[in-house]
Symmetry: C2
Subunit: 490 residues, 2 copies
């Protein structure tokens, strides 16, 4: 019961002529994508004697080539460790050793990162020969859903990153849960401009094959190009994180999206209310969602009919999934804040060879996310912040995301980050970092905050920076901001 | 990994205010349907001491009440044996004894059928009290996908009927495979006018809850009412069998369906080409499909883009499913005819307490359907007929369905059935039974056949009848026709 045909193989059999990928350079139908993936699988298997169950790491940027390689790995049963391209050499080395990879398959572009690595073999992507025909190879025609498909490392606030094990079941269930919520049309096109090495990108790749729809693939985030893709390339769904959304809306100006554009799936932290309100005004169908590497993408998403009524909520669990709020071991009442705890067939079984961390995060099949939130009386989830980012000031809980949202609604604020700093009187007080559109422009940011925030939430000081530290998936690295304040204070 | 929240419970939590069912008398939202099902579950559990794993039989006609009872059974973990309402007393008694049911829950309408049954307790549906509030009961909040959900009896050509075991996994996979092919819109409405005790009806009920869409429920088939529902009740999808389709098209006259009507899912045997051609002309989106009780509904369906290009084909397997054609233990080449063999998570694990029949039909996870067909060079399945209905005449294979299709395209033919009768010279020769629109009208049916069929396929004789014997799901009972010819000859 846990077996099914390989996804790309079946898709190519069912709808060979449908478009699978459209990048700036190339277009592939599902038949072409399958043949290209078989060719690469054959090459990898014969040239590197890869065997089912072995691990290889990919250090690549978004490209059709990367998609083909991921599918090729599935076709030979090789597990793919997807590396963040912003990692340092040391970080890459630690992860590939922890993941026990046979080699790193790397874009030449990242040669500098891997140059110093001596413990693991490096294979450059341009060394792969794409032979016009390919030797027969033992293709894994069936998938065992229990098998590990991919591993992605996720950074905690302390210690080494943890390799999240993602099985085929996790990916399958995530895609199915998503479609039962968002619906599916054979004409759907999903714009992929988030990194493929991140679950937000990989999950689009997997959905496209299961649904038989087309990916419009961008190698990196460019708000103008993304808007153009929505307006001209028949894109119907886009995945973004909050900062991308803000930039796209800014770049859109007075323009609008066509009515065929049906979903702006927005994850990576709560969306500040002012941005949501602009989207509502412009008729942009924003679907706020909550998910993480450990849940193989979305686990909670707001259904269409509640987009307006429950503005700011991440929604309700996807079908098959469950969410509860817990505080000191007790389930919370409606509107009571606590840790978000989740369950479902899309949730990872744990971290690669990290038994202690796995046992700490998983209890009776429930995963403790470390995020804070609450459910309202109708069961809608509101995500407040990472538990580790919470600022406690004079006994009051302050959520940085809320303050950042207000700051971002100031016309001259391009980006904002808030952290707690030590304070003798209050324990902690909020400190803000902002990036301005115009350094000579309006800087009355604190006055602006006073309009919207209780006084204890208003940052006591502001640092202006040319840009904020964000990771590859555009998440704000508050830890670095915090360190910079400490450094400054010393 | 095999557990998930009870489907109705989760649906009511996710989208409580969406319409779940619309019948002529009543409308229920998902919240209301869940509460009504809890109430019934509580009553059944407390009044009849039902326990998880017990079996009860339902002898009911399509109604909201029947839907509520099925959900109530899922909520207490009781397995439902769905009885065909056209059965004789003896047949009912045999099935409920074989299925080991605790009692039969029966519409008063069918009292005559169950009156003589003394071996099993009968409970009439109008004896169920719908209390305004309900006692707490131990609700099965989670489903184990491996559990048996329902049992439906299917008649072979010889021997007793076999109870097809349908697990929650079978139903789940069927619904998911269907949506990956047909797509899903939150505004979808599925017209249910096929029997709920048949897999074609039950599968709509299950899809509706998983998808969060509305069922428009009819208690029986009426072509005029069905057309009206499509035209006025915002129905987007309809499930029919071939004879229903023909009657609906006839009743439609020069009218058309609205463009929001997107799928006429047509199963229950191959559709005669002339009817398909009429549908194409009228812009009716016919999706031919192939499935059976053992596959929990569809297993092969024609995707939208091939509706015209592959007219007459049942399509390709649903996602997760596989189909092959086999002849004498060998896989057939394209266009070579043989038995249709299928595999997938929607396929039953076997027949209730019928080990021998189960072992005969299942080999290495593949189910031998007993149907004949072939795949063309592009992998599209064409279903020819039941293997047992095949007529072999002078060494030539003759498929009754093909001849019936041609006869049905004659303007005065309302229904047609063809069987083989013994012949000294040819072994077998085809004999036809027809129902005419007008007995005094055009009867040049054999001349009509000569235009479309090779001479060896043309029936040697025709019997005109007022109606043809069909079972509850409108399938032609060729066995009875055959018996009548034999009786006549003797």
């Amino acid at each position: 019961m846990s077996y099914m045909p390989n996804w790309l193989r079946q898709r190519a059999e069912l709808t060979p002529d449908r478009l699978a990928i459209k990048s700036e350079q190339k277009e592939y139908t599902y038949r072409e994508l399958y043949t290209a993936s078989q060719r690469r699988a054959s090459f990898l298997k014969h040239s590197y004697s890869l065997k089912k169950g072995q691990h290889i790491a990919l250090l690549m940027k978004n490209s059709v080539d990367m998609v083909i390689t991921i599918h090729a790995c599935f076709l030979i049963g090789v597990r793919t460790v997807l590396l963040n391209t912003r990692l340092s050499s040391q970080e890459v080395e630690w992860q590939v050793q922890n993941a026990e990879v046979s080699f790193i398959l790397c874009d030449r572009y990242y040669a500098e990162i891997v140059d110093s690595i001596k413990t693991v073999e490096i294979l450059y992507h341009d060394q792969l020969e794409d032979l016009p025909s390919f030797e027969k190879f033992e293709e894994e025609t069936e998938i065992d859903l229990r098998d590990v498909a991919t591993i992605m490392y996720t950074s905690g606030t302390t210690g080494h990153p943890k390799g999240v094990i993602q099985t085929f079941q996790n990916h399958w269930s995530s895609a199915i849960g998503s479609t039962l919520n968002l619906g599916l049309q054979s004409t759907d096109r999903w714009l992929l401009a988030v990194p493929l090495y991140h679950i937000s990108g990989l999950s689009i790749l997997i959905r496209s094959v299961l649904y038989g729809i087309c990916i419009v693939l961008h190698d990196k985030f460019d708000p103008v190009k993304m808007n153009r893709a929505i307006q001209q390339d028949k894109v119907t769904i886009v995945s973004v994180v909050t900062t991308m959304l803000k930039q796209m809306v800014d770049a859109l100006g007075t323009d609008e999206y066509p009515t065929t554009f049906r979903c702006m799936l927005t994850g990576g932290g709560p969306i500040p209310r002012p941005i949501l309100e602009v989207c509502v005004k412009k008729g942009i169908p924003v679907y706020q969602t909550y998910g993480m590497t450990e849940t193989a993408s979305q686990i909670v998403t707001l259904s269409p009919e509640y987009c307006l009524k429950k503005l700011g909520s991440a929604g309700k669990p996807l079908f098959q999934c469950e969410v509860r709020i817990e505080n000191s071991g007790q389930s919370c009442a409606p509107n009571e804040e606590g840790e978000i705890v989740v369950k479902g067939p899309n949730v990872t079984e744990g971290y690669w060879k990290r038994e202690e961390e796995t046992n700490k995060s998983f209890v009776d099949g429930w995963f403790y996310t470390g995020d804070l939130g609450y459910k309202d009386e109708d069961g809608f989830l509101y995500v407040l912040d990472r538990r580790t980012d919470l600022i406690i000031s004079g006994g009051e809980n302050i959520y940085p995301a809320e303050i950042e949202g207000v700051m971002l609604s100031h016309s001259n604020v391009k980006d904002a980050g808030v952290v707690g700093i030590e304070d003798e009187t209050w324990g902690q007080i909020p400190h803000a970092f902002v990036v301005l559109h115009d350094e000579r422009g309006d800087q009355n940011i604190l006055e602006h905050c006073q309009e919207y925030l209780a006084s204890y939430k208003i940052p006591k000081s502001i640092t202006i920076l040319p840009e904020l530290p964000r990771n590859a998936s555009n998440k704000l690295l508050r830890r670095l901001l915090k360190d910079s304040v400490k450094g400054h204070a010393q």
